[in-house]
Subunit: 348 residues, 2 copies
């Protein structure tokens, strides 16, 4: 089954490996995208052994994020310092980016398929304390994290190759965190993600049918109805969504209609920080420090307006693995009613 | 934050718990569905301890699937026996179904939200040998499994509440298998899954634009191009898809245009069994017995025709966990090019 293409391909591949280029490939049928990031490419035979590798904690080696300069990380693109001159938060490019810098992504064809360069930015947002996760930070410290998210967002949103910026946080090995030191990630990418596109389309249809934002309808109903509310302050609501994808899932949402995360005011950042920290702290206590992911969904920065969208944060505790049914259908199965989860979290 | 709704809710919940009813809830914005299956509901405080529970293997207790009668499983709906009278494969309803029997699902409203009864069927397909997974079965034994899939599919496809039938297999704890004994699952459900809907829509658009089935275009190109082919026989092709969602992902596809899995001929079932067994066996060797999922995507059984669809099996090895980026965007990141994975698997 060997053919001429194979040797040509090996040449291309080894070249690609050196330049750490990444690729976006489109599914021929659904139009969805996947990323092939060969920057941290392993040889095929390494997958079996790597599969069993444990999280790099207490390995005796210095932590990459406690000592970014000493361990040869990229240069900071943002640095926050305390009054005493010590750094409290820093942002630097990922050494193994899933999206790599470049001007305008080129498009390619192979037979019936399409792909493009994985052009973009991939940054790491690091808080100082190795042992303090978001659940243990105070509200001002979490507000500083949100400040950094916003500052980096604004710096990257108008770059030519950037149409969407995804900010997310993985905590714990089961949730995909490969390093124990708390860190968030930012990926500025050339395409709008299918999930966000589905929310944008749905929000627009809902607006057309109801002359009202779908998320505002949700917020109103949840505040009135109370049974899925986990926490609220003047400006933000934290609640277990009616159609939770995961057990103990929480959404943190501005109470007023706000399409664009980057426009969040200082007062609102404090409100968001309090709601986010409280929600994660409740999950931390309820599930005894589980792995979790959270991420921001906001309007794309592709030059269009999205007046009907409503930015929010989704927090997904990792209580079980996606199995065949979820992977095949996109329908998640949860074994606890969101109302029961919310009541339990409320009372913590 | 306690209110009157809470006590009413508790009553409803405890009632629901007893009848093992399940619920499909619709996302207000995207229209996607989630399942809330309270049949195996845990109390909220049990999630933390259960999170750490290991796979039930070698616990000293008799295996539920080796001794289905002795351990109080539901009655068989299908039983295959060898010439010596011993059972070789059996199918029985899941004791903790995600979808429960009932005639026509009722629809409900709560404020702006919609939900419906999780009406349907949830069955387990068990092969006899506790220690032999698909990778170790011979082709005839795998063909028997596919026979059972088809026989159960045909029995359930015309039930009133059934519009889609999902058949899938979880192997290994990381892939969501809660019992070690090899088993597949069938869920006959009242809605068409979002992923399959997206494939149906895409296949139809592709047909309109190209006067050709998208999957047939794929098969033709892959056979000609060879670099992503893992295995082929007369009737089936196993290949790493161009836009693989996971490292070492393999699709098994009929070479000829076939929309409907249930119409597979005996000859084709043998071809599918050989390709499926070979593909899984190669993954088993390459990744040293990894966890994996596989599932069938076929045309819905909702009374409509889907002439442009092309049934196939997708095999997803579990080499990493979905993290924040994937959960947030629906864009998967893979660290190996499908061409490199295919070459490695081909040579095993």
């Amino acid at each position: 089954m060997e053919n001429k293409n194979d040797s040509q391909f090996k040449k291309d591949f080894s070249k690609k490996g050196k330049t750490q280029s990444t690729e976006l490939r489109q599914d021929l049928v659904t139009g969805d995208w996947v990323v092939i990031a060969t920057g941290r490419a392993k040889r095929p035979e390494e997958f079996a052994s790597n599969r069993r590798a444990a999280i790099e904690e207490d390995s005796g080696k210095p932590c990459f994020f406690c000592y970014p300069e000493e361990t040869g990380q990229e240069k900071d693109v943002l640095l926050y310092e305390r009054a005493n001159g010590e750094w409290s938060l820093r942002v630097f490019p990922n050494k193994y980016p899933a999206f790599t810098r470049g001007r305008v992504p080129k498009h390619y064809e192979e037979g019936p398929y399409f792909s493009m360069d994985g052009t973009g930015y991939h940054e790491l947002i690091i808080t100082r304390d190795h042992h303090k996760q978001i659940a243990q930070l105070n509200v001002l410290e979490v507000a500083e994290v949100i400040d950094a998210y916003q500052e980096r967002y604004i710096d990257l949103m108008n770059k030519k190759s950037v149409n969407y910026i995804e900010i997310f946080h993985n905590h714990g090995k089961e949730a995909g965190a490969s390093l124990a030191h708390p860190h968030s990630q930012l990926m500025a990418i050339p395409v709008v993600s299918p999930y966000v596109q589905s929310e944008l389309d749905g929000a627009e249809s809902y607006y057309k049918a109801n002359k009202k934002c779908a998320y505002c309808s949700m917020v109103e109903w949840e505040i009135e109805n109370k049974k899925r509310v986990v926490f609220e302050n003047d400006d933000f609501l934290a609640f277990c969504p009616f159609s939770s994808r995961a057990a103990f899932e929480i959404w943190v949402m501005p109470k007023k209609h706000k399409p664009y995360f980057e426009r969040t005011s200082d007062k609102d950042k404090l409100g968001a920080a309090e709601a986010l920290q409280t929600a994660i702290n409740k999950i931390y206590k309820a599930l005894e420090d589980p792995a979790y992911n959270f991420y921001i969904h906001t309007a794309p920065c592709d030059g269009k307006d999205y007046p009907h969208f409503h930015w929010h944060i989704e927090i997904l505790p990792h209580t079980s693995n996606w199995a065949g049914f979820e992977l095949s259908t996109g329908i998640e199965i949860s074994t606890i009613q969101p109302e029961v989860a919310a009541e339990y979290l409320r009372n913590i």
